[in-house]
Amino acid sequence: MSAQELIRIDQELCTRCGHCAEVCPVQAINSGRRETRAVDTTRCVKCGRCVQTCSAFDSLFDEPSGRRMDRIRERLLPASFAEPMFAAYDETSLPELSAALEERHVLSVVHCDSAVFAPLAEEFGLPAGTLRAGQVVAALRKLGFHKVYSNTLPAAVSVLEQARELVDRVEKGGNLPLINASCPAAVQFIEQAFPELIHYFSGCRSPRQLAGSLSKAWLAKELGTSAAFLYNVSLASCTAHKFEVTRPELRTDGKREIDAVMTTRELAWLIKREGIEPYLLEDSEFDAQMATVPELWGAFCHTGDISQAVLATAADLMQAKDAALEEGSEEDGVRHFRIRIEGRDYQAAAVSGLQNAVPLLEAARAGKSTVRFLEIMACPQGCVSGGGQPKVLLPKQQAEVYRNRVAACAAAAPEARLSQNAVIRRLYDEVFGCQPGDKSNHILYTHYVERSDDFVSKGFMESDS
């Protein structure tokens, strides 16, 4: 199975209602009235909005009861799977994950995105944020993961690198706005629809990918083993990340950095399959080799968190005293931030929803953008509402559930002084042997691919013609 075909629509269950086509930000699903729906896999950016929206479930009254067990097998789900099944779904990585967890000769490492933690509680009938991080860590250990890390250290490195890039581009006249590359669906969207802008991306890998590259290039040695024996799992809220990890340009020495992605829902399925009750577990700590940066735990769950951290860190790097971060009004899914450093205004825009980003990207392409840092998140509230998060059953409840998740996550921590952090300094001095912003650091840097041919020929963006 190709990673391109990650998002699928089951023709047996599809009601042809078209709600998936309505939420698809890249028109990858045909939108005619009463048509059978199918995903155009080359266009699809794997954001999972359709998976989160589909309401065509397997009704008890429509099918012989044996059909459900067949479908569970066809979708490679655990036999204990008890929730309704929907027409739009994302292919699971559970078989590979389960096999790796049983493999004796590998050291299984899980890198945890904090956006998974608050929503996970909902899978167990609890309000968002009521499972303690320590209980989730304990559950991961019970599932057989040998090492459990928070990916706050990779997130901190990514913020530091982007802040350095931003300051350098502003001072030396580089491509502005600097476009954040943390959201893999947004990256693919820009590669396809705005290929002229790929050199505006931050060259630094996304935090989730950095977790993998740091793990294989450095952590393996710390743990006294070789990268070949390390099985890296990225616990994330994201379906698009499953495509990201297969990108050839995100390999180190020809090897994938992340071996498998586990979404919030997949983690819940594993926990349920093993009969674990996470809310009853005693807390367990994250492992220490890849240190946790506590200020960043719970940040990066909501659109705008990254912008705030990058602007504040830019001010910190420039040792700008009394630089105050201001937030402007929010409109059309865009949050605006501003900070003044050495007499220069640094403006950031943080956008939820790929279609909401189009005007900003068009301005950037025309050289008319006033924004210096651009953060684009495909999902309606950023990663708390990701394609791999617990699926809200009723569309009219979505907004409220997402708001509760945002409230349950920590606020962004712009006051974190990352350049002064001892763990991070040690990483640069002893492991990388260079300072932030050094593009020769192949553990951190990557490149992007123009994917436009297909899109231009199909008239993807009307303004292109």
Binding site: S55, S59, L60, P84, E123, G125
Partner: protein, 193 residues
């Protein structure tokens, strides 16, 4: 004599309905003890009381009409289907699952659903070796107009296309008459011109 008003019922606009089944989900959730918000909270099959029919060029949920002289109630030997105020309701404790009502309903608005999906966990002896597996009981299952739900029927509130409405029959016919009168008037004017 105290004349009660006509029973109201839920009707779909087939022009608006896209067949998405959100009404079925909303219905099933509204009839669960602690309505879940996310799919992962559900450990049993969803049991809706509205039934979406998807044809090639039309779709609509089929929902009980709460008939005045309800055939389902008339054929029930157990007296399990009765009229309560303006609704026709099933008493699942009396229902023996004979399916006569299902055959009698001219709309197909009654289905038989496993109402004891938790039976196996309620009776732990069923999981002992050699135990007879518990037969899951099916009972008559139909719209109750979301009795006891303060906000009214869940299907209407949650339809993304706003295709459902609760029809008050006497009001509806008065509205029809007004429209017909207006059309008559328009036709009359045109004929005279």
């Amino acid at each position: 004599m105290n004349l009660e008003k006509l029973n109201s019922f839920i009707l779909a606009d087939t022009e608006r309905c896209v067949g998405c089944r959100t009404c079925e989900i909303a219905c099933a959730l509204a009839h669960m003890e602690a309505p879940p918000t996310v799919a992962g909270q559900i450990g049993t099959r969803l049991v809706p009381r509205v039934f979406v029919v998807n044809l090639s060029d039309a779709s609509a949920p089929i929902i009980c009409r709460h008939c005045e002289d309800a055939p389902c109630s008339n054929v029930c030997k157990m007296g399990a289907i009765s009229r309560q105020g303006e609704r026709v309701v099933v008493d699942t404790d009396r229902c023996v699952g004979c399916r006569l009502c299902l055959m009698a309903c001219p709309f197909g608005a009654i289905e038989f659903a496993p109402l004891d999906q938790h039976a196996a966990s309620v009776f732990p002896s069923a999981s002992l070796p050699g135990a007879q597996p518990i037969k899951i009981m099916y009972r008559a299952n139909k719209c109750d107009l979301c009795f006891g739900r303060a906000e009214g029927p869940a299907c209407i509130a949650n339809c993304p296309e706003e295709a459902l409405q609760r029809v008050d029959a006497s009001k509806a016919s008065r509205r029809r008459r007004s429209v017909a009168a207006l059309e008559l008037q328009a036709g009359h004017t045109t004929a005279l011109a």
